[in-house]
Amino acid sequence: MVSVAELLSDPAIEAYIVRLIGEEGVELIKRFPEEEEYSDEELAERTGINLNSVRHTLYSLYEKRLAEYRRLKNTETGWLTYLWHLRLDRIRDVIEEDIKYILENLEARLAYEERNDFYMCKHCGVIYTFTESASWNFECPNCEEMLEHFDNELLVAALKKRVKKIRESLGSA
């Protein structure tokens, strides 16, 4: 199985994991002994990371199927123990699922950028659509500065290219 260090050496995968579980979560998975399973308390003790933070990280990973647990019942006390192990080998599939879902957002934004003309207030830095700008006689509603045409051609071209790459990568071009 690919190691945590190897996965984190890919900047995109690292950025994804940081977004998901934060820097403290990354510390946990770096110190998580590979190929083994531990309870949350054992993990907190071994890694020196606060128990609440360990639990939060494990649940966040679990929601994305990047961590799993095995439940053990103590026959004498009836207490349940959850033994966790990582499934970071699934990370590429998980990122792919997210990208599939997010592609809709990017396509919606692209369509919006393509079908509208935009005007910007240089003073406030706010961008308005043609319809909004026309209703204010092309004066900024905040500072009354004249609005200027905002050329979004480069934004559209760059976004279009990325959407195309994603579609190709997902095999739905």
């Binding site: 890919d10 900047p11 995109a12 995968i13 950025a15 994804y16 977004r19 998901l20 590429r92 990122i95 792919e96 997210d98 990208i99 997010i102 957002n105 990017l106 919606a108 934004r109 919006y112 480069l154 934004l155 071209a157 760059a158 976004l159 290219k161 990325r162 790459k165 994603i166 990568s169 997902l170 095999g171 739905s172 071009a173």
Partner: protein, 113 residues
């Protein structure tokens, strides 16, 4: 890639379980010989795979698009991660300023590299 090859690839990709070659040429509205040539070019380009298949004793092929592992770097622009990842805000992609910032990063990446 010709228009017909693109169309054929698209049809194959939309059938996730694969499509029989004998069905493909009917969908493309071309004859089987022409379809074979298109399939050969897609095979040579490594875009599809072909599995021998018998349908009512007649030999044909099941064609499937090759799935490539996604390139995770598609979520990055200029080192910045796509803001939609893990976002819990109410989603209005048309007006999202975080997405606009990321799009600027895309433009910069485009012109720097």
């Amino acid at each position: 890639m010709t228009e017909q090859e693109e169309e054929a690839l698209h049809i194959i990709q939309t059938h996730r379980q694969g499509i029989l070659q004998s069905e493909l040429w009917k969908e493309l509205n071309i004859d089987s010989r022409k379809c074979s040539r298109i399939v050969k070019r897609l095979l040579d380009a490594g875009l599809i795979e072909r599995i021998e298949y018998r349908s009512d004793g007649i030999r044909t092929y099941l064609l499937r698009a090759k799935t490539r592992a996604i390139d995770p770097s598609l979520i990055l622009a200029g080192g910045e991660i796509l803001p939609c990842i893990g976002c819990e805000r109410e989603c209005v992609p048309e007006e999202c300023s975080l997405l606009l910032d990321w799009m600027y990063q895309l433009v910069l990446e485009e012109y720097q590299g």
